[in-house]
């Protein structure tokens, strides 16, 4: 099992080195990550009202109290985007974080949780051509980086069916914008400039989950607003093999985000969930001022999880295999020239045991992002997500 974990982490680290987003991620803090697990993605990215003994809820920390043993979880995703205005495609792979939940005490279901996760991604590459005095050149505009967070918190069930959770988020990350001007003749000096903005700051994630009604659980989470410190440097590289560095400081707002969700165990085998998320970027300060083109972001999601062989004791593996389906509609926070984009996705997924209490989850998403802006066009997006959750029972006494 340990070899599997190591191999998984190595593979995800390689996948994380690739690029392949779109130019929209140049704005704000980049393209926001859904920050949900593969199980949740398969269910239309619903999360706030979901509980699980094996899947670590990354949206509502109150759900950690449902976990019965040490859980380690990691995930990755692959994305494939086709753009209506171009024949090229954008491909990328990325680590979707790593986290664990550790049971501390059972009477109040006290749990300790921690995670490192991506928050946003700025990842694009585009080119233009030019010439001067009959010398042609190519200009590349590239972006890389994004924000991540480190999270640590607690959850508990102080009252029957009432779970609460709170976590501290430390945000960090660099977002680089790179320019390169290269002459076709190959002998003239290539210009390289980099604008690197580093961020750091703190916030909190609060969660509440109530499952006192029969077969129904209601959850809500609040990600508090945060104001990150931002430090920006512009580095110019010269033929004299030195460089110039100019710097500035500013602030980066992360607005408050609210998630509300409900999960209904319709039958012993079928779970239905729905979610709503909202985050208003309209007044957010981006380094030196409000950036035009930011608005309100929201998401509506519905999903289902089905264990068709749950009660079939003869099918040990199949009884623990789940199938998932979902749908979500999302408006990203970036709007160009007052044109807002809208995303529609259908999702499907499966979860299966690996061995013991360890599980793997796969999710597939297909959707489109469209805008009325002639600059944006329509993007068709396919995503595959994969996560592994491993259960470890610590402090075990050997049986005689």
């Amino acid at each position: 099992m340990k070899k599997l974990i190591i191999a998984f982490l190595l593979l995800t680290s390689i996948a994380g080195a690739q690029n392949g987003g779109t130019v929209e991620s140049r704005y704000g803090i980049g393209e926001l990550d859904l920050m949900v697990t593969a199980r949740q993605r398969g269910m239309g990215s619903t999360a706030a009202g979901l509980q699980s003994a094996t899947d670590i809820n990354t949206i509502n920390p109150a759900a950690w109290s449902s976990i019965q043993e040490l859980r380690l979880q990691g995930g990755m995703s692959l994305e494939y985007i086709t753009i209506s205005r171009s024949s090229d495609v954008a491909k990328s792979g990325a680590i979707k974080g790593f986290g664990f939940v550790f049971p501390l005490e059972e009477s109040m279901k006290l749990r300790l949780g921690s995670a490192i996760m991506p928050v946003s991604r700025s990842d694009y590459a585009t080119v233009s051509r030019g010439s001067i005095n009959d010398e042609a050149y190519t200009i590349s505009y590239e972006g890389a980086g994004g924000l991540s967070l480190f999270r640590a918190g607690l959850s508990a069930e102080p009252l029957p069916h009432v779970k609460i959770g709170a976590a501290y988020n430390y945000y960090f990350g660099n977002i680089d914008q790179n320019w390169e001007l290269r002459f076709d003749n190959g002998s003239w000096f290539t210009s390289r400039q980099t604008r690197a903005t580093s961020h750091n700051g703190s916030g909190f994630l609060l969660g509440l989950l109530y499952d006192g009604m029969k077969h129904l659980s209601i959850g809500a989470s609040l990600q508090t607003a945060a104001q990150l410190n931002a430090s920006r440097n512009l580095v110019l590289e010269y033929s004299t093999q030195d460089s110039t560095l100019t710097g500035a400081s500013g602030k980066q707002d992360l607005p408050m985000a609210i998630d509300i969700g409900i999960a209904w165990e319709m039958t012993d085998e079928l779970l239905i969930a729905a979610d709503y998320r909202r985050q208003d970027w309209t007044e957010a300060i981006m380094f030196d001022g409000k950036q035009t083109g930011q608005g309100e972001a929201y998401k509506f999601a519905v999903g289902a999880e089905w264990y068709p062989y749950k009660n079939d004791l003869d099918a040990r593996t199949l009884s623990r295999t789940a199938f998932r389906l979902g749908f979500y509609m999302q408006q990203p926070y970036l709007a160009f020239e007052n044109y807002k984009a809208t995303e529609y996705f259908i999702t499907a997924g499966a979860g299966f045991p690996i061995f013991g209490n360890n599980r793997g989850d796969i999710a597939l998403e297909y959707g489109s992002r469209s805008s009325d802006s002639p600059l944006l066009g329509t993007q068709n997006i396919m995503r595959a997500s994969f996560s592994v959750t491993v259960g470890e029972s610590w402090f075990i006494r050997k049986t005689e």
């Binding site: 998984f8 593979l11 690739q18 690029n19 130019v23 140049r26 043993e69 990755m76 753009i83 205005r85 171009s86 090229d88 495609v89 491909k91 792979g93 501390l104 005490e105 059972e106 009477s107 590459a125 585009t126 080119v127 051509r129 030019g130 001067i132 005095n133 050149y137 590349s140 505009y141 590239e142 320019w179 001007l181 002459f183 003239w188 000096f189 290539t190 210009s191 400039q193 512009l234 010269y238 033929s239 004299t240 110039t244 690996i354 061995f355 013991g356 209490n357 793997g360 600059l375 944006l376 994969f386 592994v388 259960g391 470890e392 029972s393 402090f395 075990i396 006494r397 050997k398 049986t399």
Partner: protein, 425 residues
């Protein structure tokens, strides 16, 4: 915490404990070794994802319209001629040594006077005080380079030098301290061709002194040699002691010892030459002179280029004035361009750039490349702008003149600097 033996979850039915309570609870964490196929599934899936994520994307022009105008960059150019930027030029004398020159020039013509110093320090042992010097001759091999009429009779005089000199440090300012005999120790008079040789007979008494000094360690440095000068017949050029062994100056002494004639050759030789003459300061010109020498300075005002811009390429154009230029020697049609790193002493950056003639514009030289680009980059970054220093090709050996149009010449002929640079976002 509990005492006793502990282990992690394994292939057994185990009991799990929490760190803050002794309450036991059946975790049901049973490992089923027969469920390995799922490991293979995970591995295959992970490998598949790895394969799919191994693809790189090529940058695409799609989306360039989303880059804000303030972040769009491009290449611009600065042209000192088009933009009428200020520039300055001047010439200055450069005191140089010629100890490493492979050509020496001797004679007087066109306002220049060239004299050579030459010496042989060692001679074969055993001949110091004995024998009879039958003859002593300095042979010089001529080159086709000259000033004045090469067919005119040439009188070359060799005078004994009586004070110390060093070919690597001797400059025109040292002439006043140089001591030599008024009476020549040897004279050549006659005509000779371009690739010819001449023999200068040397007074045997002088040669005897050299032989004796050579045999005494403390006197070796007193073999100061001879000064060669030619008051008539123009300036003629000869191979120096730094040339090929076949054509370098030779001192040959024929000595009779005990009835046997021996031929001795001077060894450990050293020579140099120096040219004096008035520096030309023609209006609207930068006149570079080899031999004496005269160098040029050229400065451009680059304040029109935004500070800290990235310079991609820089090109310097210089226009030759063929009427004032000469080709008495090799007449090389190239200029060495250096960055000046000091305004007071005109110190050169160690590496220079050879100019080349623009094919489409004969008489126009261009100097470019990474060294010119770096120099301009430094000036754009507001590091000390002392301009360029221009040096004639073969400055060390050729008494040629290369005249270039200066900063105060007509606009279409004055030096021109073209700089291509990138704007900042």
């Amino acid at each position: 915490m509990l005492s006793g033996e502990f282990s992690l979850a394994g292939d057994r039915r185990d009991t799990v404990f929490y760190p803050f309570t002794f309450a036991g609870q059946d975790s049901g964490s049973i490992v089923n070794n027969k469920e390995r196929p799922h490991v293979r599934i995970v591995t295959v899936l992970a490998a598949l994802l790895l394969f799919l994520t191994a693809c790189q994307n090529d940058p695409d022009p799609t989306g360039i319209g989303l880059i804000p105008d303030t972040d769009i960059i491009g290449a611009l150019d600065f042209d000192s001629q088009r933009d009428s930027s200020a520039s300055r030029s001047a010439v200055y004398p450069f005191e140089m040594t010629h100890g490493t020159a492979d050509i020496i020039s001797v004679g007087e013509a066109e306002g220049y006077t060239s004299r050579a110093l030459m010496r042989w320090i060692y001679f074969p042992a055993g001949y110091a005080a004995g024998g009879r010097i039958v003859s002593a001759t300095i042979r010089l091999h001529s080159l086709p380079y000259h000033l004045g009429d090469a067919s005119a009779p040439f009188r070359l005089e060799a005078r004994e030098i009586t004070s110390f000199w060093n070919s690597y440090t001797f400059t025109n300012t040292d002439w006043a301290d140089l001591k030599y005999e008024a009476t020549p120790a040897g004279i050549f008079e006659g005509t000779f061709g371009d690739n010819d040789s001449i023999d200068i007979p040397i007074d045997s008494a002088l040669v005897r002194t050299w032989l004796i000094n050579s045999s005494v360690d403390s006197n070796i440095t007193k073999n100061y040699g001879v000064m060669l000068q030619a008051p008539t017949g123009g300036v003629r050029s000869f191979y120096s002691l730094d040339a090929s062994s076949l054509v370098r100056p030779q001192l040959t002494v024929i000595i009779e010892l005990d009835g046997v004639l021996d031929t001795l050759a001077g060894e450990s030789a050293d020579d140099t030459y120096l040219v004096t003459g008035a520096m030309r300061e023609d209006a609207q010109r930068i006149v570079l002179q080899g031999g004496t020498s005269v160098r040029g300075k050229l400065y451009f005002d680059l304040s029109a280029i935004p500070p800290a811009s990235i310079v991609n390429f820089a090109q310097l154009y210089l226009t030759k004035d063929p009427d004032l230029s000469t080709a008495n020697y090799r007449g090389a049609d190239t200029v060495l361009v250096y960055e000046s790193v000091d305004s007071t002493d005109n110190v050169l950056n160690s590496s220079g750039v050879f100019s080349r003639e623009v094919e489409s514009s004969p008489g126009v030289y261009i100097a470019d490349g990474i060294l010119i680009t770096r120099a301009v980059q430094k000036w754009v970054n507001h590091k000390d702008n002392y301009g360029f220093i221009l040096v004639a090709m073969n400055e060390n050996t050729d008494l040629d003149r290369l005249a270039l149009y200066g900063a105060d010449a007509p606009e279409d002929k004055r030096p021109r600097l073209v700089v291509t640079y990138t704007t900042k976002p």
